[in-house]
Subunit: 241 residues, 2 copies
């Protein structure tokens, strides 16, 4: 019989879609097995690892096996008590924040990094230049949801959506590179403050320090980023309209 | 005061992310206002239309405003009673099916159609050839979730996840074109049956007949598809490994 408290999160040895989930579980002090699979290409992976759709991350929490990042985020938020006492409207808003950060910032940034392989003929620089204003706009809209007088979407303590905002902001900073970091912080001060307030929490600081160095599973991600950062930074992120 | 039963779904005049939601509401006999916005470029759209993230579809159902497709799908499923009596595990599975169909089939097909604009240097043919085996594999995994002895994921009546499977299957057929349709039906017989069983429901047949002709908001989508279908069909969809 399964241990009803056993929590296993399976992903690759990168941040990608899983990092906000790792952050939230860590911040809540949940002891979980952070499985980082390195031999994915030796397919097929058994369904208890790869989930219903053959895609990581997957999660086991006691007797529930979950797959697909947003349903997993919802389950984690519920089990951590993040939605307790909230109105249906508010629950849907927080889910929307996770969804927008994942599907309109984090996944598109992964696509940019993989662009020459997934979208033959394109490259990371062209895709980033085309799409970065949209990512910045999604982050600005997310920032506008944060309260003025309290640090997190969850109030005094973060909920899972806060970690999606944080990872989306942090990941865009990584993609755009050090030359554009000051502009990103200046244009999105509320997210800069969110990052600072989250990193002031010892468990978040710990998981941040220990996280995988790469965002995607692409082995040559450092070279892709180095090429991206080599040219004129303003090409990567055209001035806001 | 808002009419607690008023339902408004806002999207563009295309199928895209909204069609599974339109299907589910129609099949359930919910009278809803199917707003199709044609002047989106005249931004900024007010938040009551464009939602928290400036992105359609959005939904108003009585006193709840929702945005982002997957949270909206969950809300619709709940309000239509699709999750009543189901285990937490099963609810998460059905959410995962919506998520996989949306994020790994429908959205990538939209990206293929928009590829030359979103991923400069790429084109619809190269992206489709690169990604179609993955879309087919996601659909095969979704098909494997359908029961053998009953028509739908929901049993005798469809739940919202059934409509995501249906739209993903139908949309891949549209993208690959008439020359590949027989192969698609042969390789995915369970989804062919799902489509037939859904279209045998009068309200689904009605909404299917009345739906917008385009999948994306791209005005020249018919030309993009015509170019895609003009060459050797086997280039679009390499034989399964």
């Amino acid at each position: 019989m399964a241990d009803t408290n056993q929590v296993i999160l399976r992903y690759f040895s990168c941040r990608g879609r899983a990092q906000p989930l790792r952050d939230a579980l860590s911040d809540a002090g949940v002891a979980f097995d952070d499985v980082q699979i390195t031999d994915w290409r030796a397919r097929p992976q058994p369904p208890e690892i790869a989930g219903l759709f053959g895609s990581l991350p997957t999660l086991t929490w006691g007797d529930v096996d979950a797959c697909e990042t947003l349903p997993m985020a919802r389950l984690i938020g519920e089990r951590l008590g993040h939605t307790r006492g909230l109105s249906e409207r508010r629950v849907v808003e927080l889910e929307a924040a996770c969804s927008a950060m994942l599907t309109d910032v984090l996944v598109p940034i992964a696509h940019a990094i993989w662009s020459d392989l997934l979208f033959p003929g394109s490259d990371a620089k062209g895709v980033t230049a085309r799409q970065s204003p949209r990512w910045r706009s999604k982050l600005a809209r997310a920032a506008a949801l944060l309260p003025r007088d309290r640090p997190f979407l969850g109030g005094e303590a973060p909920v899972i959506a806060d970690f999606f905002l944080f990872e989306a902001f942090d990941t865009l900073g990584m993609l755009l590179g050090p030359a554009l970091a000051p502009r990103l912080e200046r244009e999105l001060p509320r997210l800069t403050r969110l990052a600072r307030d989250l990193l002031a929490r010892p468990r978040v600081a710990s998981v941040y320090a220990a996280r995988p160095p790469r965002f995607t599973g692409r082995p040559d991600e450092p070279q892709v980023l180095a090429r991206l950062h080599a040219g004129d930074p303003s090409e990567l992120w055209p001035a806001s309209a």
